[in-house]
Amino acid sequence: MLEKTKTVLSLQRIHFSYRGGAIPVLAGVDLEVARGGWVTLVGPSGCGKTTLLKVACGLLRPARGRVLLAGEPVDPRGKVAYMPQHDTLLPWRTALGNLLLPAEVEGRPRKLARREALSLLSRFGLDAFANSYPGQLSGGMRQRVALIRTFLTEREVLLLDEPLSALDALTRAELRDWLRGIWEELGRTVVLVTHDVEEAVVLSDEVCVLSSRPARVLGRLAIPLPRPRDPTSSETSRLRGEVLACLRGGSHD
């Protein structure tokens, strides 16, 4: 199926426990993500999804197992973009100022970064908010800004930890389409964590189902449907059912 060279991020047999934690969190998790692809992780609350993302971006070092980027075993710290689960916009910076953060940390020229940020803001419908502070923005707008900031990191792989979960249903559906649009246009590799099975099926190439803690991979489901996908179509409902069945199967044992 996938050629070896097309795999951009690969996690092999990852084991992890927090210091002092009696039960391990990750018990041999494997993950392969193709360049330009979209893999979504679903799993019960507290199973270790955030922990897995933190291992993938080098914030946590696995006890066993390897992280490979483009086939090379490396320390992924600083090489993979990560959007934390909770709001991490700097409240003292405007939306535009927040978008300049990655360039500032990396020491890229400010003028160029500014131009790039402004063009993304207007391309994705946020130019009216460039000079607003996060405190003045709605939850949905804040997440849009944080997502654009993640795309501005110039990393190939983006790890998104439940970016839409804190939003109301209407905003969430709206942002789901918006996020698919920005991904299709900017073309990056995405690993998304979500609790929402419909979101997983509508957005991704593959859904990876994790067991409850300690996390193992219960199953992978390819979603071979053309985008944009209708969340109410019979095909998506069938796949949703399969993901749910896989999740339930894991909680029996």
């Binding site: 990560y82 991490t88 409240p91 910076r93 953060l101 405190g135």
Partner: protein, 253 residues
Amino acid sequence: MTKGWNLRGSAISLALLALLWEVGVRVGGVPPYILPAPSRIFNTFLAELPLLFSHAGTTMAEVVLGLFLGSAGGMGVALTLFYLPSVGRALYPLILGLQVTPVFAIAPLLVLWLGYGIWPKVAVAALISFFPIAVNVTDGLRSVGEEMVDLLRTLGAREGKTFRLVRLPASLPFLFSGLKVASTLSLVGATIGEWIGAQHGLGYLMLHANALLRVDLVFAAILTLTLLGLALFGGVALLERRFLRWRKEGKNS
């Protein structure tokens, strides 16, 4: 902050109080060397303006220098507590001990050691302003969430950059809260330092005038001190408004 005050109400109640005082003194025939009428105090204030101004200059210099040194020391201690917790834990009882010892009890010693010039008063003002700054800035440094630091790390930032881009700006509101408390306290500290031994300054002027039974001049000096305190507080509040514009604007929506 000042917007919350009812300026007209304050002015009216102040005027009423002055009127009551004026009438009480005149009708009761209280001699001016016990309690001068407000009109008399105000006349003295105007007549002795150059004298008051010159003494206020000395007191203000002591306060500003003390505030500056106290803030520098307080921030240094906060940084130590944050970055070198083991050193901090060793120092903490010492700092706390220094704080619970009334600075005014040490003031005579300071005069003994540092002479009759401005330095013992600067020292009192510094010692008294140091604690609120240290406590507030420590809280400020600790206010930065784990996820924010994680984000900076995945962008490739080391602690130096994280400090400059996140911890320092996050501490600013806390620093200003500390400065507001410290600025008023240090004025009290400098005045009391001047009571203990001085050749110049508003505290010295008060003692001197008291000895000459010039109670009107004592009150004029108190009035000057009040105005100084208000100016200091106002100055800090103004700086705060200038630096923390995002807080105000953030709440508008």
